[in-house]
Each structure stands twice: as C-alpha cells, then as structure tokens.
C-alpha cells in the first residue's frame, strides 16, 4: 500500500492504525499504515527510528565537515547518512525507502561522481596537480573562525557516491526482491481464486 502525501490514508483502528480523530503528526514519513520490510511491525523500532533518523543525519553532516583534518570525512559521513535511510527502510518497508530519498540513487551516484572528479580536476585549470587543496579562513557570526578547504567539495562528492551506492544496493537486493515476492504472492492468490478447488476446504477460502 503506497501512501501519497496530502491524501487521507483511511486508516481505521482495526487495521492497527491510530483512532480516527487522533492528532496525527503532519509528517507522513514512517506512517503506521505501511508494512515493514521484515516480519511483524515493531512499535519500538518505529519510535526509535523516528527519534534517531534526524540525529543520524545531523551527525553524518558533522562527520563530513569535520573530516578535513580530524577523523571522519565524506566516506564515513556517507555511510552514516545511508544508515539513516536503511533504518527507515527496515522499519517502514520499501515504500518508505522510495519516499525517503530526495532523488534516485543513480542520480546521487552521478552527481557525486561529477562533484568529486570535477573538484579533483579543477586545480588543473590553474596549472596545479590534481586534488590540490585551496583553503580560506573566514570569521562567521555564530561559528567563529572557520577554515574552508576546497577538499570539502571532493568529500561531498564522496558522501553522495556512498549514499547513492548503499541506497542502490538496498533498492536492488532488498526492495526489488520484496516487490517481486509480493507480486508472486498476489499471483498465487489470484490463480488459487481462479481455479476452484476439487474439494471445498472446511474453513472456506480467504
């Protein structure tokens, strides 16, 4: 079941959703109406996911910007950020995965590759070797003295590549297989409904 934003989900209490005049959050993500990727729904996992995902994403950005001369960087940041999406997928199933990504994983990969290679090649235009770093220091109102290195562009590219790669792996190995399984299940049900059983079952057909 796919949930489009701005449409009433029509969830009734007997489906396990909230009661009708429940004050539901405006955010549609991790809606209680969707099925998780594996096994039965877990309220604990859903709540924890909601609490953790913003924190994980913020932490990934912290890793990205602090990585120039301290531990972290685009690769670590990208892995952490993609874990937020994987958590969301595990808690909410494949529809949540598709809804949670700002663009398709392929696009993320391409954009990241362009950023990384472009910034690696940029110093060539000024006669320097590839990957040469330019730095600038500025004093910002809140953050104080901030050092900006052109390396950050490269790292952002790496960040996007890692996120794109993890998401496309999850999409290919998790979400697509899940969709295929669902299709096969529906097909089985349909063929069972079409073909009358030779001996009527006691419990009746669902």
């Amino acid at each position: 079941m796919s949930i489009e934003p701005g449409r009433d989900t029509g969830v009734r209490p007997e489906d396990g959703g909230p009661p009708e005049n429940w004050e539901a959050p405006r955010e549609r993500w991790l809606s209680t109406a969707v099925r998780p990727a594996f096994g039965p729904r877990s309220v604990l996992l859903e709540v924890v996911a909601r609490l953790l995902i913003p924190a994980i994403l913020t932490f990934s950005v912290f890793l990205l910007v602090s990585g120039h001369d301290r531990p972290g960087g685009g690769f670590a940041g990208g892995l952490v950020a993609s874990m937020a999406y994987v958590l969301r997928y595990i808690a909410g199933g494949r529809h949540e995965l598709a809804a949670g990504i700002p663009m398709r994983p392929n696009g993320l990969l391409a954009l990241g590759l362009l950023l990384a290679c472009g910034s690696a090649a940029a110093p060539l235009l000024f006669g320097g070797p590839i990957l040469e770093v330019f730095t600038a220091t500025a004093t910002l109102p809140v953050f104080g003295k901030v050092k900006f290195a052109s390396y950050l562009v490269f790292e952002s590219g790496v960040f996007l590549i890692v996120v794109g790669l993890v998401l496309s792996v999850v999409a290919a190995l998790g979400a697509r297989m899940e969709a295929e399984e669902e299709e096969a299940k529906a097909e089985r049900l349909r063929s069972r409904a079409r073909r009358p059983r030779p001996r009527p079952a006691e419990g009746g057909n669902p």
Binding site: C117, G118, A121, L124, P129
Partner: protein, 509 residues
Amino acid sequence: MNTLLAVPFLVPLLGAATALVLRRFPRAQQIVSVLTLAVVVADAAVLLRRTADGTVLTSQAGAWQAPLGITIVADPLAALLLVVSSVVLLVVLLYAIGQDIGGLSRAMPQVFHPIYLVLTAGVCLSFLAGDLFNLFVGFEIMLTASYALITQAPTRARVRASMIYTVVSLTSSILFLTGIALVYALTGTVNLADIAAKLGAAPEPLRMVLALMFLVVFGIKAAIVPMHFWLPDSYPVAITRISAIFAALLTKVAVYAIIRTQTLLFGGDDISAVLLWIAIATMVVGILGALVQDDINRVMSFALVSHIGFMIFGLGVGSVAGVAGVVVYLVHHIVVQATLFLVNGLIRQYVGHTSLRAVRGLTTVSPTLALFFFLPAMSLAGLPPMSGFIAKVALFQAGVEAGGWLVHLGIAAGVLTSLLTLIAIFRIWVRGFWGTPMPDMVEARAQLRSGANRGALRFMTAMTGVMVAVGVAVAVAAGPLTDIAFTAADDLLDGTAYVEAVLGHGGAS
C-alpha cells in the same frame, strides 16, 4: 604535464557520471562515451610521444611530494600500453554501439556505457599508478566494473560464471591488500620508487616471500597455471563486447603489474627460475586445454591462458632483450585477442552460438568473416609476416642469447605451443569454416542481411576490420615498436630513471 597524466582516468570517470545522467538519452550517451575514449586515445598518444625516448613523466597529486603523496607516473611501457588499450577500448565500444543500434544485443546500453567508462578509468589508473596502493585502487575500480559487466544480459550460465569470477578476483584482492600491508610493515612506504630504494636493505628470504606473494596475486588475475582455472569458465560466457575487452585487457593489466613489481621491486635469479617454470607450465597446459574444446570461444580462452606463458617466459629470461620481447608481445596479444573475440561475436551473430558441433561452412556464409578470423588467428600462432611472429622471434632470440638449460626448455615449450596453437586453429578452420553451411545458417544469414539490421551488421564487421587493420599495423610498425620496447625494457631493468623521476623534484612543476 599534470593534465596529461590526469586525463586518462579523470576524463572517463567524468564521462561515466555524464553517461549516468544521460541514461534516458541513448544517442547522447553514445556520443559522450565515444568522445571520452577519443580524448583518452589522443592523450595517450601525446604521452607516448613524450616518453618514447625513455623520459619518465610524473605528477604529484595534491602537490604532496613523493613518497608521502600519490604519484602518477608514465614511463614508456605505461604510455605504450595506454595507447594500445585505449584504441582497443574505443573500437570495441564502436562495435557495441553498432550492435545496440541494430538491436542485435540483449545488453542494457544505459547500464553498459557508464560502467564501461569506469572500467576504462580503472585500466588507465593501473597503468599510471606510482604506488602500490593506487595500483590496488586501479585494479579494484577495473574489477568492480567487470563484476557488473560480466552479468550483462544475465542468463543462468552467466550468473554462474560471474560467481566464480567474482570469488576468485576477491580472493586475489584480499591477498593483494595483505601483501601491501606486509610491504608497508617492512619498508614504511607504499610508493613504488621508494620501496625499490628501501627493499634492498631487507633480508633476502623476506624479499623472496614478498615477490612470490605478489606473483600469486597478479598471477591469479593474469591466469597463469595453476591459477588459470577460472578464466575459461568465465570469459567465454559473457557477451561479445565484454569478453573481447576482458580477454584483451584485464589479464594484460595483471601481466603489466607482474612486470612492474618483479623488475622494479624484486628480481634476481631465484625468481627467474620460478618464472620460467611457470611460463612453461602455462604455455603447455593452456594449449593442451585448447585442443580438446568444442566451442570457438573456449578454444580462444585456453589459447589466451597459454600465450600469457610467453610473456612470463620473457620476464623469466630477464635480459633487456627478453623484457623488450614481453613488451612487444603484450601489444600484439592485446590487439589479437580483441580481434578474435570480436570475430567470434560476429559468428554468434550469424549462427547464434559458437559451438563447433553445429557450425559448418562459415567461409561460404561470409568470406569477409573468414578472412577476419584467418589473419589474427595466424598472428596468434606466430606465422611469418604477422605481429605474432615478430613478438615470438624477439622472445626466442632473447632466450638464445641468455642461454641456460631452463631457458632452452622454455624455448622448446614455446615452439611446441605455437605448433599446437596452429593445430587448434586448424581444427576450428576445418570444422567451422570449411564444408557446406547448414540450412539454418543460410536462412539466418538471409534474415540478418535483409532486415533493418543490415547496416548495423555491416558497421560491426567494419569495426572488426579496423581491429584486424590495427593488428596488421602492429606488424608494419614493428621497427619503431621494437625501439620503444627496448627503451622501456632499459628503463624497467635499470630502474634509476624511474626512481629519480619520482623521488627527485622533476616533473612536479
């Protein structure tokens, strides 16, 4: 200088990203890929011109001086291989585009183009890497792309083949990484030139262990006996364009890595003897395998394994002439293997398969095809005016000059292998090309030639013809090629030019 050295791997990566963005526009994707490879060919040609006299060009990435930073190095060997590889990559790409336009392949072009360009970047980076770790990165880029490419148009057989291929390659990658860690523990550096300078102080047995370890690592990827078993199982199953590139380039990049590590880092009589024995085993076992196969692609794959032995032999001889012979052989072999696999692709197009049991009379079906098979096949066997003859004579001459019973045994094995190659080719020729074609083959040809695919098929045949012509050009240009090969071999065995260019301050602008 910096730009020249960065283009071969940066431009294909940028091209791959652009091709990924343009995946809904097949024509634009094709143009981007062709332009990218054309730029790489031009760049490689300039690099070869600059290094032909033995100059070693370097570029220090990020302006960090070697041995701390990443060094990109182009010596005559790397530049020569870059030129040949990029030309082969370009021609195979055009062949593939022709096939796609005609709708003659089940490959997914929108996936193929970006990954093919990533593979190009990996191959180029492997040739230009100035440190062990970047060599590893180049290999991994190339191999990761190849894992994706080998399952293009997936069938049961292809998925099975790709499993073997992936597991074997990953095993060798893990060994490679372990080897790098050991070298780093021993010398405190991963820069090739720096290792070369520092490894001399290490105890002899330790150096021997490391040399053998790297020989195993690259030997798996180069498919030398006894680590060859995976190749005839995986390469022939992939679609034509992929098997052509794999057969032409992937094993040869590994041979390049063997040459680089064994000459610059290690070297010595003990390793020579090992190399010679491996060479003899590879030549004989490979070609005996080729003699009993019933599929043209599989015959060619076993022949590929067997002829890797010739290159290892030249390296085992170890003289300047021997290594120069290896360089000539590398160039010849890249071109010939690509051509033969493209021809097999055309046969598959006409007949639907390449099994010798159900192919007859190909000469009648398409005389052009027969000619395009005959020329590179004779070159592979080493018949006189072809490039194979020149390469083999260069190797055997070097062997006779060097002397020693083991080397002579190697020469005998080489001559025997050439004869057996000839027999393997005649088996294909007699069974597949002679005789009256089967009725369904004639029908298939009529269908192919009358349909809308006619132009596409012609284009593919023309591209195969271009590859044949490149093979002939290698033979015609044997003089200058041998000169460059000797310069490269001098550089490789001496090593001082390489070490000075990297560790000195030359070239860093």
